[in-house]
């Protein structure tokens, strides 16, 4: 089911999810450029108690934030040209240390992606003031 949400609703949804997230959770976020992944993840990260804004890790591949319970890792596999490149991302280290691991463009990590507890897909909608949130 794709739920059409305003930006504010998407943020509220994300914060709630972040606040209730069990420790050591992997979340995956699919969706085209501009579909709202950043907005949703920023809200989840706020819910995890991170005070600095989550910024796009497209270039650095991994961003680390200080969350309430421990490090929050924010990954973006957008730039990976093949799943083989994902092997270099030290997934074991991220999982061992991270309170939460949030992965954008997870499909580009192929088999290297650790099994996510939840997977979301964000959609562009004809109504441009809304984004579609789908729990896969």
């Amino acid at each position: 089911m794709i739920r059409p949400l305003t930006q504010d609703e998407l943020r509220a949804e994300g914060e709630t999810l972040g606040r209730a997230l069990p420790p050591r959770t992997v979340l995956a976020f699919e969706g085209e450029l501009g579909a709202g992944k950043t907005t949703f993840i920023q809200a989840i990260v706020r819910g995890l108690g991170v005070s600095t804004p989550a910024t796009s890790p497209t270039y650095a591949l991994v961003h680390r934030y200080r969350g309430r319970r421990g490090p929050v890792f924010h990954l973006d596999c957008y730039r990976l040209r093949s799943a083989d490149e994902a092997a270099d991302l030290d997934w074991e280290g991220l999982l061992a240390e991270g309170d939460a691991v949030l992965v954008e463009w997870p499909e580009r990590a192929g088999p290297w992606l650790p099994a996510p507890a939840r997977r979301f897909r964000l959609h562009h909608l004809p109504d441009e003031s809304r984004r579609g949130l789908e729990a896969l």
Binding site: T55, Y59, A60, L61, H63
Partner: protein
């Protein structure tokens, strides 16, 4: 007496080494070698392209090349400087381990350098007149920040991006327009053929520069990227492949105009607010000539703008050696326990709004 300083940079995609010759008055670039992913690809694509493995395979020869450029051997080095963060830990580790091993075996001082401080020092290699105080605009694929630099080693964060970096916006819009990666140069080329004003995109956070609020010097480029996407979808044909060349050029013009207007307005406002007579632009987006020309025009008689040449704007080891040499000359040293840190903060960085002291 002149000192020779080696710089090593492996924080992201580029593997780079540089040799600086530093005397009392200035540092001069003696050798620089940069191997990028593009080069890896030209070499037949058999080199694993990402980060650590690629760095491991080529760092030794990249260092040799820089030393050969400088015409010296390893034994002449007086110090080893290496990027310790921020960046991708696996990639940083290659340079840090190499630097440590080299410094230890040569019995020379080691210094871990912050990558962003490197960008601030880059123009000094060509423009020795660049001395604080100045306003620094760092714009790259991974960073967009405005800094007050009252003195070398003292940095005050005025503002930064709340979502996407400026260079990332260029890369992603280039992709939407069917251009290559990295996207900065192709967009600037295409924009030159663009018709000014046909497309007008939002200027995110521009209004805030007039107010004395927390986002006065903040940036945001995620929404702008989405606005370009909508425009591409709405254009005749509705698909990228259907866009005619002129429309793509017009979109490129409109996008670049929006990004540059925000970057210039905020940098100029900071220069005015601080009363400085110098601004510098660093990072890959500093290669955008339209940006630099616009900033120079805006600041005209008020302040001069210092910008390095393109090879020193994108990630390189010369800037690491420049920042490192300055710190080595002050007697700073890193221990053999130097670690690579993905979230390494700028040394001497003060946040935009100082947190008040603990409650009494």
């Amino acid at each position: 007496m002149a000192e020779w300083v080696l710089g090593i940079e492996t924080s992201c995609d580029e593997t780079s080494a540089a040799v600086l010759r530093r005397d009392e008055s200035r540092a001069e670039l003696a050798g620089l070698s940069i191997l990028s992913q593009d080069v890896h690809r030209i070499f037949g694509g058999v080199v694993p392209e990402l980060a650590s493995r690629a760095h491991v395979q080529v760092l030794g020869s990249v260092v040799e090349r820089a030393l050969a450029d400088a015409g010296i051997g390893l034994s002449r080095l007086d110090g080893v400087t290496v990027t310790a963060g921020p960046g991708l830990v696996g990639a940083l580790l290659v340079g840090v381990m190499y630097g440590k091993t080299l410094a230890f075996s040569l019995d020379r001082p080691l210094l871990g350098v912050n990558h962003l401080e490197g960008h601030l020092f880059a123009p000094t290699l060509e423009d020795p007149e660049l001395v604080p105080p100045f306003v620094g605009l760092l714009v790259s694929g991974g960073h967009t920040m405005l800094l007050d630099v009252p003195a070398w080693g003292e940095y005050r964060l005025l503002g930064q991006t709340l979502d996407d970096a400026a260079g990332e916006a260029f890369d992603k819009v280039a992709k939407l327009l069917g251009l290559g990666y990295p996207g900065g140069a192709p967009i600037e080329r295409l924009a030159r053929e663009g018709q000014p004003g046909r497309f007008r995109f939002p200027r995110p956070m521009l209004q805030e520069v007039e107010r004395d609020g927390p986002h006065r010097y903040a940036f945001s480029f995620s929404g702008l990227k989405t606005a370009v996407l909508r425009t591409v979808q709405r254009s005749p044909g509705g698909e990228l492949t259907e866009l005619d060349h002129q429309t793509r050029a017009d979109i490129a013009w409109g996008f670049q105009d929006a990004v540059n207007e925000v970057l210039v307005a905020k940098t100029a406002a900071a220069v005015d607010a601080l009363g400085y007579s110098t601004a510098m632009v660093g990072g890959g987006v500093a290669c955008n000539r339209a940006l630099v020309a616009r900033l120079r025009e805006r600041l005209a008689s008020r302040a001069r703008v210092s910008v390095a040449s393109p090879r020193l704007n994108t990630d390189n080891a010369a800037m690491i050696a420049a920042a490192g040499a300055w710190r080595l000359a002050r007697g700073e040293r890193s221990g053999w326990d130097l670690e690579a840190r993905d979230d390494l903060p700028l040394p001497g960085l003060v946040a935009p709004q100082p947190v008040s002291g603990p409650d009494a």
